[in-house]
Amino acid sequence: MGEGKSSQLQKLKVMKMYIFCHYVATATYAVINKQAHFLKFYLAILCQIISVSIVYAEPYIPDQDSVILQILPTTSDSRIQSLRQLRIDLSNSPDDLVRAVELARGYLQMGRTMADPRYEGYAQAALQPWWNMALPPPDVLILRAILRQRQHDFTDALSDLNQALQEQPANTQGWLIQAAVYQALGDYPAAYRSCLPLYHLKLDFLATACIASVSSLNGRASESYKALQKIIRVENAFAPQEKLWVLTILAETAARLEKNSEAESYFQAALAVNHQDAYLLGAYSDFLLDQNQPENVQTLLKQAVQSDSLLLRQTIAAQQLNAPEFEKSTETLKARFAASRLRGEMRHLREEAQFMLHLLHQPQKALKLAMENWQLHREPKDARILLEAALQCNDRATAQPVIDWLKSVNLEDSKLDTLVRQLS
């Protein structure tokens, strides 16, 4: 059947015209007769149809040359400038390992600050000549591990780290990343083993922080908290990035132990070090939402970049405040998760489960996603969304293995404790 593009376009135009006429007529009527209650429902549906069709309806030709179509990441930023120069240099000699590693590192850092996955793709492309090697140089191995870990390919990330650390046992960053990956997978003994070499490298502060980070989830929350408090007071113990890391662990541990005012002040201290770090912003937003302060979440994230996970928190806050952008952000999130499914990615299972449960109110689907997520990720937040979904589905059986696991590792978290109590 010869259905051409132009006829499709005509259909869309016709549909939009209908909606528009209908909308104008209804609105006129509402103003004339002041019959607001009847039209509320009617208009809500129309608003949805129109707002979706405005943004995603159909391609068009802008009417003026001066129309701004896209704002690029801040070009004035000196880091972007130097990365651009480095990229030009590298394109002239793509096999230059030193330059490639420097460029990839720069992009990775940029990706973390901006919470922008495109930089991960650029970093990987810079490493292309070495990417598919079984045993690339150690620097490439570490970067490949970081990229694979961000893409949630933990098995390959760990094998890269293992290889790199065999060749370079003094690679501090390698040990710390390995510990973090094992911790996220819930393999605490392996995480401890990755922290220990730091003592041999005479990096006592980092080693202590590394171990405290693991043990705060593994039955010694109060002790770890005290140890971290002690070392954070030492002047010049940490570089800024490390300080940010330790302060974030302190804040999260305090929140799990229900020391809310202390958590608040550690979050603030961490923000003073770096107010753009996407992980920190996410963790602080979660804390604020738990403290019933959605308006502070909005203030906090107003200037922040729109990564899926931050947008999710913003939308939950908007929902609690009945803010006008709620419906729009929900649509955006829906489109983002759909886009990531189209790509065949499984990156944001936890966020998608949270979206299903808290914003779309579909506990069954949320529980399914949370279970899929739990196969791999074992952080307190992963447990929490699963238990929350199970509680709403009244499905104690599904929650049981998670509850058992939490008991077996002795994870102390007041929010999780409450959920476990509610489920029993």
Binding site: M1, P59, T75, G121, A339
Partner: protein
């Protein structure tokens, strides 16, 4: 209420600006093909950010890409993008023609939209696409492919590991055909303004009753709905009869004649609201004219190209689609009309003014169709 409306408009402005702001997701391009025999319509959405990274768009380096800057680089965009895309029909390379450039917004920003036609030598059974955009610069880039052929939509993803995709364009199944014709039916009542205006003209007075030379509001919803039911059913039965007869070739009238009579039917229906003569048996008039409208639907259906084997199924699907489209119109119109039937606004403006307007449009149609001229007065519809 007013506040709500204002909020809504602010909301839409906000969404447009949202498209400008930076949102974050990995890089994707959206590549869609609609295939009809040997002709392929292509649409390719590529993010401006990606194009800027690859070939540079921000001419004055102010961190903003304007339409002017993009327009100046259209030639470069064509060369860059199309050199990284190859289309094959039955193994032979087909050449894309020069694309038309538009823009669109996705969740992570603005995209350039290339619309192009690809002509292959013969009807395509085996469709193959080779894609090599951006993989050298961004290893996480993906090309999301959607191919629409014979009423079947297939999707696939290009990645650095999979740069070639081959699709077998099988013939469609009867069930799909049924659904597709159903969809066409819905659309053809929606874009067939004459049918809608006819229906609306008849429905306008359904919530009123004509007594002693005046329109009075109908008392109960039940009576109003009964009136609507009679009209809609009469229309449906009548046009179904002639639609079937025409499609099976038992009745055939000149299109120009049919179209003109349809215009007359709209005119009469509208005039009848202004000077009512029949008060109880409006459905009889509906039935008579419905027969003509059925012939109008039939010409649309025949134009779509009828499948040989599953004609009955296609016909049933199309007719069902027309009914669904019609019910949607009734569902939107009747509750609203019933609620405001007592107001002077309804009787004075909606009924009278609406009927006059419909009659006027019908007059224009009648002249245009009977004399086979186009005034372009109503081109916007």
């Amino acid at each position: 209420m007013k506040l709500r409306i204002i909020l809504f408009f602010l909301g839409s402005v906000f969404t447009v600006f949202c498209g400008l702001a930076m949102a974050h997701k990995a890089s994707d391009s959206y590549l869609r093909f609609t295939i009809d025999k040997n002709i392929i319509q292509g649409q390719w959405d590529i993010a401006l950010r990606d194009l800027d990274y690859a070939i540079g768009l921000d001419d004055n380096s102010d961190g903003r890409i304007t339409w002017g800057e993009l327009r100046a680089r259209h030639q470069a965009v064509n060369e860059y993008a199309l050199s990284r895309l190859q289309v094959y029909g039955n193994g032979a390379r087909c050449q894309p023609q020069i694309p038309e450039h538009l823009v669109d917004h996705h969740t992570d920003g603005t995209y350039t939209v290339l619309r192009f036609t690809v002509i292959c030598t013969d009807a395509i059974d085996m469709f193959e696409v080779a894609y090599d955009l951006l993989f050298d610069l961004d290893s996480l880039h993906r090309g999301l492919l959607q191919v629409d052929a014979n009423g079947q939509v297939q999707t696939a993803v290009f990645s650095p590991e999979q740069r070639k995709i081959r699709l077998d364009l099988k013939k469609s199944t009867p069930w799909r055909e049924f659904l597709q014709f159903g969809q066409e039916g819905v659309w053809h009542i929606w874009i067939g303004f004459d049918h809608i205006l006819f229906l609306i003209s008849l429905l306008l007075p359904a919530v009123l009753c004509w007594q002693a030379g005046n329109w009075l509001p109908q008392h109960s919803l039940r009576l109003a709905l009964w009136e609507v039911f009679k009209i809609v059913t009469a229309f449906t039965i009548a046009h179904s009869i002639t639609l079937c007869l025409a499609v099976f070739g038992l009745v055939s009238l000149p299109t120009r004649w049919v179209e003109s009579v349809i215009a007359v039917s709209v005119l009469l229906a509208a005039l009848h609201n202004l000077y009512p003569v029949i008060s109880n048996r409006l459905w009889v008039m509906t039935f008579v004219f419905g027969l003509i409208h059925g012939l109008g639907f039939a010409s649309v259906l025949i134009d779509l190209g009828l499948p040989g084997q599953s004609l009955a199924l296609a016909l049933a699907g199309f007719n069902l689609g027309v009914e669904i489209g019609q019910i949607a119109i009734v569902g939107l119109f009747v509750p609203l009309a019933f609620l405001i039937r007592r107001t002077g606004f309804y009787q004075r403006y909606v009924l009278h003014f609406g009927s006059v307007l419909i009659a006027l449009i019908a007059c224009i149609w009648l002249v245009e169709r009977s004399m086979a001229i186009e005034w372009k007065v109503l081109e916007w519809i």
